[in-house]
């Protein structure tokens, strides 16, 4: 069974169509890099796959659970958005540990420390999040989202605000997750970084997937040209 399978998934907000007719299939260990301009519906699609938003029409299965899913679906998902989703007054460890506890992990503190260590943040674990740089906050956010070893990781512009070392650490961590069989959907504006991890690439425009292709050897330069044609010229 596919890890992610949607058919005609759509979402409207009042009269505005945010996502329309999205059909896609991803197997275990696949990584879809999803590109598109702001307002294309990428975040809305991710939130539907995460079970945070109810689809208006269409159907989908994520980690064997039908959308919009419930606690069973959410237990299998790690969601990283462009907002850090952290409490600034709590330390990095407390933020990650809280989530580990809410996911029912046995030794939540040790799990939180392991997750922070993977993001090279164990030396900052007890610092309040508000004292960390934007890039470090993003890494804490990734530790928070992956502390429970989710089957599916949904990432919304995770490279935003990261410096070179942060991007490299994140890229390495995501590659390790993929190698371990985690299925990922990665929304990003950075085509080279997205394609470096991707087994599939897709372009979204005005709520619809306008181009989907499989293949791990997509040339970033060629793809950038294709992307510009689709997004800027509406090919």
């Amino acid at each position: 069974m596919s890890t992610i399978a949607t058919r005609g998934l759509a979402r409207r907000f009042g009269g505005r169509v945010a996502v329309s007719d999205v059909t896609l299939t991803l197997e275990e260990g696949d990584c879809l890099a999803l590109f598109g301009p702001n307002g294309a519906g990428k975040t809305t699609l991710l939130r539907m796959l995460a079970g945070l938003l109810r689809p208006t029409s269409g159907s989908g299965m994520v980690a064997g659970v039908a959308l919009p899913g419930g606690a069973e679906l959410r237990a299998a998902i790690g969601y990283i958005s462009h907002a850090s989703m952290l409490y600034a007054a709590l330390s990095a460890r407390e933020n990650v540990e809280l989530i580990a506890r809410l996911f029912g992990m046995r030794d939540a503190r040790a799990a939180a420390m392991r997750a922070l260590e993977r993001m090279a943040l164990s030396d900052r674990a007890e610092m309040p999040v508000r004292q960390l740089s934007r890039g470090m906050q993003q890494r804490v956010s990734i530790a928070r989202a992956t502390v429970h070893d989710p089957r599916v990781v949904l990432l919304d512009e995770p490279f935003t605000g990261l410096d070179d070392s942060g991007s490299a650490a994140l890229g390495a961590h995501l590659a390790a997750l993929r190698a371990a069989g985690t299925t990922m959907v990665l929304v990003t504006h950075q085509i080279a970084e997205g394609l470096a991890l991707a087994t599939h690439a897709a372009i979204m425009r005005a709520g619809a997937l306008v181009r989907v292709e499989a293949g791990e050897t997509i040339d970033p330069a060629t793809y950038l040209t294709v992307y510009r044609e689709h997004v800027m010229h509406g090919a």
Partner: protein, 227 residues
């Protein structure tokens, strides 16, 4: 295995209280508001026209109601910065546990303000509130449960609107009335030295509203946070 509703609620309440303990912004705002309110009422009061026994219950419950709103406002606004609420919504816990956790933290917050404001009212108005500490504590706790049950729900509803600070009192205050009336009436009877049996009817009414509000608000909460 994901935690039970109560375990998850306690985790969320502990988190909220830890944040408040470190920042202390809402607690001090509410406390200063309560104390200033008590002082302003004191200076506006003409003891030859209205006795302290008649005035004190109204002051007490008016102050609790409005200072409580300050804490309730903060309840969901702290989840909005950096969309931290999504980390709770993305966890495999029931929506009710989020409501319950927030309500427990708010209850502690309101009770802490009450603990300081009640002696302040006794000091300024010369009424013997602390002589009836046990029964007054029960009334205060029951009233706080009702206020917090309603206020937590409306805090969640109002936080996503542009006029959240105005909307919360507008939505909440009409629902606070059935809580404040029995609480003030029971307090007035207590202070005037009437037998406790005269307060029992008001306490039963308060209990009934508590049960209705807690159950109704908990059931309604998931619909307020679904997009």
């Amino acid at each position: 295995m994901a935690p039970s509703t109560l375990s998850a609620a306690l985790l969320i309440a502990r988190k909220d209280l830890a944040i408040e303990f470190r920042t202390r912004t809402a607690f001090f705002s509410a406390l200063v508001f309560a104390l200033l309110g008590i002082v302003i009422f004191f200076f506006a009061w003409d003891p030859t026209a209205v006795s302290s026994l008649d005035l004190a219950p109204g002051v007490l419950w008016g102050i609790f109601t409005f200072s409580g709103l300050l804490g309730l406002q903060r309840s969901f606004s702290l989840e909005q910065s950096d969309r931290a609420i999504d980390s709770l919504l993305g966890a495999p816990i029931s929506r009710e546990s989020i409501y319950l956790g927030k309500a427990i933290a708010n209850l502690v917050f309101v009770a802490a303000v009450q603990l300081i404001a009640i002696p302040a009212v006794q000091l300024f108005y010369g009424v013997s509130l602390l002589d009836h500490a046990a029964l007054l504590g029960l009334i205060a706790l029951m009233a706080a449960i009702g206020l917090v049950a309603v206020g937590t729900l409306f805090s969640a509803m109002a936080v996503n609107t542009k006029l959240a600070e105005m909307l919360l009192p507008v939505l909440s205050l009409p629902f606070f009335v059935p809580i404040v009336i029995p609480a003030a009436q029971a307090t007035a009877r207590l202070l005037s030295g009437r037998p406790a049996s005269e307060s029992v009817g008001w306490l039963k009414l308060l209990l009934a509203f508590d049960i209705v509000f807690v159950v109704a608000c908990m059931l309604a909460f998931p619909y307020t946070i679904e997009e």
